[in-house]
């Protein structure tokens, strides 16, 4: 069992505060009067509602079907009646509503017909589909659909499957308790993932401050799968970050630009593995999860909570103390303040912490950065947070990307140690969202520019064609009219008339040819101008490009484009009104 451990650089050691919530076993939370099950509980596509108000549902019944490959199904956590499918406040820092299925439990808790399957008898694609349809997502907090992570890379053999039981966030103990109480199911679940990935070895990483969990997992592994290795990893936040745990257990470093499968390694949370086992071996989709209720409460404990249970009712189970000011979802390092306790527990709700000014004192005032470099010392991705901070502050987003802002995992170590109390993570989130917004704008502007150029080209082409047609017609008329006079002359026309008529005809022909020639020359000139014009649109600032995009959008919104049509018809000044806009 002696494994060589690697170190990840950086990290911090905040007070763990974990012991308070592991004194009692996991308890079953009572069903609320109403469940608000959001359809969108995972990264990726939002599932489509499959029920409507008035329907009765059974426990485990599919109520939201995955709408894409990266998406996961949602199920009725109990039997009852669908009251509505409507917008309800989400468990998200924004507090914005999301489409949710409101269920009134009937108290009978009647299951649908559960169909356990033997995953070994099914092709891997089918197993992945089953996992998606059972709503199995990463329960560590990210809620990424697990089936989408269960395809090995084509060219690289899967060397290690890392199972994450590190649980490095302070206060949080839901994985700890799950491992203590349900180690067998976890170990059996690992087998499913291991076979799907054809992983050579399995490493189960658990922080060394969870000795009971390590012992329980060890014991289960010995009985069920002796070739798995349970490894105690040093307790240091964020050892439970997937990339950090992979580094500690395998020595591999997965940069933001690559997938871990490309390096022959993949990582899953213990609770995810547990739900995968329940989904396949028992036919039970993900209907509940373990939630740590802790912090400033009378009775900290882990509860198994039905998804969709309003947080207000969950929180009440722990009996928050009177001076509780707010509640956090997730840990104190990466979690967020719950804006509204009407929000329901979802698959990502691993922990709810009652916060008080005593427990989490408000931060001292922000001071200027003194470049002390403490943030760089603790950054687990070895970034230079203070440099990123300067560039973010200066809105120099190009530079933030040069300094790898997208490798930042927002673990909060930098903010934790900053002697100037700068909310660094907020600056980085700001920079990232700005970059994303600009990227979107640029794409829109590029699309608009392309449309504009295509339309101009089409106008040019049509005009040139018209000019050519005119010229052809004119020359045809000329030759036509040149020929007949000879005939008339020969047959019956008087000489005087014969002499005058061709002259008039020749005059009109010459006119037409001249007109056609002018039109063609104008078309050529315009084409040349068009060729020359892109020069001053070559090096546009982002500002200008945005303006152009806005103008394009406005023009696109206008019902018709009379100037453009007129221009295309050859009014002589097609570019004028457009440029003037």
């Amino acid at each position: 069992m002696l494994a060589q451990l690697f170190r990840f650089k950086g990290g911090v050691k905040p007070q763990t505060n974990k012991t308070i919530s592991v004194q009692e076993p996991i308890a079953q939370a009572p069903l609320p009067a109403r469940l608000f099950v959001p359809l969108h509980q995972s990264i990726g596509g939002a599932p489509n509602p499959l029920v409507q108000a008035g329907d009765t549902v059974r426990k485990g019944q599919l109520i939201g079907g995955a709408d894409a490959w990266v998406s996961a199904a949602v199920h009725a956590p109990t039997s009852g009646r669908v009251l509505a499918v409507e917008e309800h406040v989400a468990a998200h820092p924004s507090g914005l509503p999301t489409l949710s299925v409101v269920i009134e439990p009937d108290g009978r808790d009647e299951w649908i017909e559960r169909r356990p399957v033997d995953h070994q008898s099914l092709p891997p694609e089918r197993v992945r589909e089953l996992l998606r349809d059972a709503g199995v997502v990463g329960l560590g907090g990210a809620a990424f659909p697990s089936h989408a992570k269960l395809t090995p890379a084509r060219s690289v053999a899967m060397e290690q499957l890392v199972i994450n039981g590190a649980e490095c966030e302070p206060f949080m103990t839901c994985d700890d308790m799950l491992m203590r109480e349900r180690a067998d199911e976890i170990v059996r679940g690992i087998a499913i993932f291991r076979e799907l990935l054809a992983a050579r070895e399995v490493l189960i990483g658990i922080e060394d401050n969870k000795q009971e969990a390590i012992a329980a997992m060890h014991e289960a592994v010995l009985r069920l799968a002796p070739d798995y290795r349970v490894v105690a990893v040093p307790t240091r936040y964020p050892a439970g970050g997937a990339k950090q745990l992979i580094r500690v257990l395998t020595g591999k470093e997965v940069p933001a630009s690559r997938r871990s499968t490309e390096l022959g390694v993949q990582c899953f949370n213990v609770a995810t593995v547990y739900t995968a086992y329940r989904a396949l071996a028992c036919g039970e989709p993900v209907l509940s999860r373990i939630v740590t209720l802790t912090g400033n409460v009378e009775r900290p404990r882990n509860w198994e909570v039905s998804l969709g249970t309003p947080m207000r009712e969950v929180v009440a189970l722990a009996r928050p103390r009177a001076d509780t000011g707010s509640f956090l979802m997730g840990g104190p390092m990466m979690g967020f303040e719950i804006p509204d306790l009407d929000a329901p527990v979802v698959k990502a709700t691993n922990c709810i912490i009652a916060a008080s000014p005593g427990l989490f004192p408000p931060p001292p005032p922000e001071m200027p950065c003194i470049r002390c470099g403490a943030c760089a010392e603790v950054c687990p991705h070895e970034l230079q947070p203070f440099e990123l901070y300067w560039f973010s502050r200066a809105r120099n987003f190009g530079k933030t990307q040069e300094y790898y802002i997208f490798d930042c995992i927002e673990c909060g170590c930098c903010s934790y140690v900053c002697p100037s109390h700068i909310p660094l993570v907020q600056y980085f989130r700001f920079a990232k969202s700005e970059i994303w917004a600009r990227e979107r704008e640029k794409q829109a502007a590029d699309a608009a520019k392309e449309r504009f150029e295509l339309r101009n080209a089409r106008a040019e082409r049509e005009q040139a064609e018209k000019a050519e047609r005119l010229a052809r017609a004119a020359s045809a008329r000329t030759s036509e009219k040149k020929a007949p006079p000879e005939r008339t002359n020969a047959v019956d026309s008087p000489p005087a008339a014969a002499a005058g008529e061709p002259a008039a005809a020749a005059a009109t022909d010459a006119d037409a040819i001249r007109k056609a020639a002018i039109a063609a020359a104008m078309a050529r000139a315009r084409a040349q101008r068009e060729l020359a014009q892109p020069k001053n649109t070559d090096r546009l600032s982002a500002e200008q490009e945005r303006e152009i995009a806005a103008v394009e959008a406005r023009r696109g919104a206008q019902p018709a484009t009379p100037e453009a049509t007129a221009g295309a018809a050859g009014s002589g000044a097609p570019a004028g009104p457009q440029r003037g806009e």
Partner: protein, 340 residues
């Protein structure tokens, strides 16, 4: 609702004030040796410098409409003030100290944007400005064996008593350089060191122990993780390497690395000046480059230049290079060390 709603909700118990306070504490061993061996006048200078710094800081904060109490109590101005007092001759007239401190606080610090924004080390700016402006006063160090009471010293600083000749000695570095220059090759370093009472056991008499005090304080700062080892080690390395090469080549005309290390501002510079995070380099390799070149330039200036010591100018020159050094020494990040 709570006063804030952004993660992380846990913060380590650290602050700028605490960092600065520890720097001040780390200066105490050096100051104690200074008082004991050189004279208590340094205490008067420290008080003058502190008051001037707080005054300058307060006025500038008010002019810049910044929160007064928050920044006055961050301790950064006091650190600058103490470093200036320790770098200046201990019997400087009070106004010289005040001019130096105000130059540091007002011009080198606040005109560039205050705490964290100054590209140059404020204390070294003060030293450079004053040694260029008042070269005579800045070179008047108390002659060894000058026996003056604290009251008499205070009177001299306050300008109440005449500045007597006996108190205007030279620093050991300056004494050595002058003697070598006057001797024109006829005198050699070992004889000078052995015969002149300005020299002590391994460097300047008295001053060598002040330097030891700075060394102890610096090691404590390193142990407390307020400073990192790279810059001081590289600075000492740059200084002693040059000193060792020339000393090995011609020990008659060049003092030993040990002498240089414990003379002048070497160790004050190594642990308290080049380690200034605001004006120094921040990357691992950058700190090594920054420290090494600062040490080497300091040696060149103090041995071949016209000034008694070269630390200030060396640091300022290297401050100029910091953006460039940092740009070219960015470390590889997690997962990018072996790009395939």
């Amino acid at each position: 609702m709570m006063a804030w709603s952004t993660p992380p909700y846990l913060l380590a118990d650290v602050s700028v004030r605490r960092v600065m306070l520890q720097v001040l504490v780390a200066l105490l061993p050096g100051i104690a040796a200074y008082v004991w061996l050189i004279g208590p006048s340094i205490l008067v200078q420290l008080v003058i410098a502190t008051l001037a710094a707080l005054l300058g800081e307060a006025v500038m904060l008010r002019l810049r409409r910044r929160p007064l109490l928050l920044f006055l109590t961050d301790g950064s101005a006091i650190v600058s003030a103490w470093l200036i007092a320790l770098a200046f001759p201990p019997l400087s007239p009070w106004w010289l100290t005040v001019v130096g401190v105000l130059f540091a606080i007002v011009i080198a610090k606040h005109l560039y944007g205050g705490l964290g924004q100054n590209p140059f080390n404020p204390a070294m700016i003060a030293f450079a400005a004053c040694i260029v402006s008042f070269p005579a006063l800045m070179s008047q160090w108390p002659a060894l064996g000058l026996k003056l009471s604290l009251a008499e010293q205070f009177e001299i600083i306050a300008g109440l008593a005449p500045r007597i000749d006996a108190m205007s000695g030279a620093t050991p570095l300056d004494a050595l350089k002058t003697a070598l220059k006057l001797g024109e090759g006829a005198v050699d370093v070992p004889t000078l060191l052995a015969n002149q009472d300005v020299f002590g056991n391994f460097a300047g008499r008295g001053w060598e122990w002040v330097s030891v005090g700075y060394l102890l304080g610096g090691l404590w700062l390193w142990q407390r993780k307020i400073i990192t080892w790279q810059t001081p080690v590289a600075f000492v390395g740059g200084l002693t390497l040059l000193a060792a090469i020339l000393w090995a080549w011609n020990p008659q005309q060049f003092a030993s690395p040990l002498f240089h290390l414990f003379s002048g501002g070497s160790l004050l510079g190594a642990f308290f000046i080049v380690t200034d995070p605001v004006s120094g380099s921040t990357t691992f390799r950058g700190k090594l480059i920054f420290g090494f070149l600062a040490g080497a330039i300091a040696y060149v200036i103090r041995v071949f230049g016209g000034y008694p010591d070269g630390v200030a100018f060396a640091v300022l020159l290297m401050n100029l290079c910091v953006p460039l050094i940092d740009m070219y020494t960015q470390p590889p990040i997690f997962g990018m060390k072996n790009p395939k």
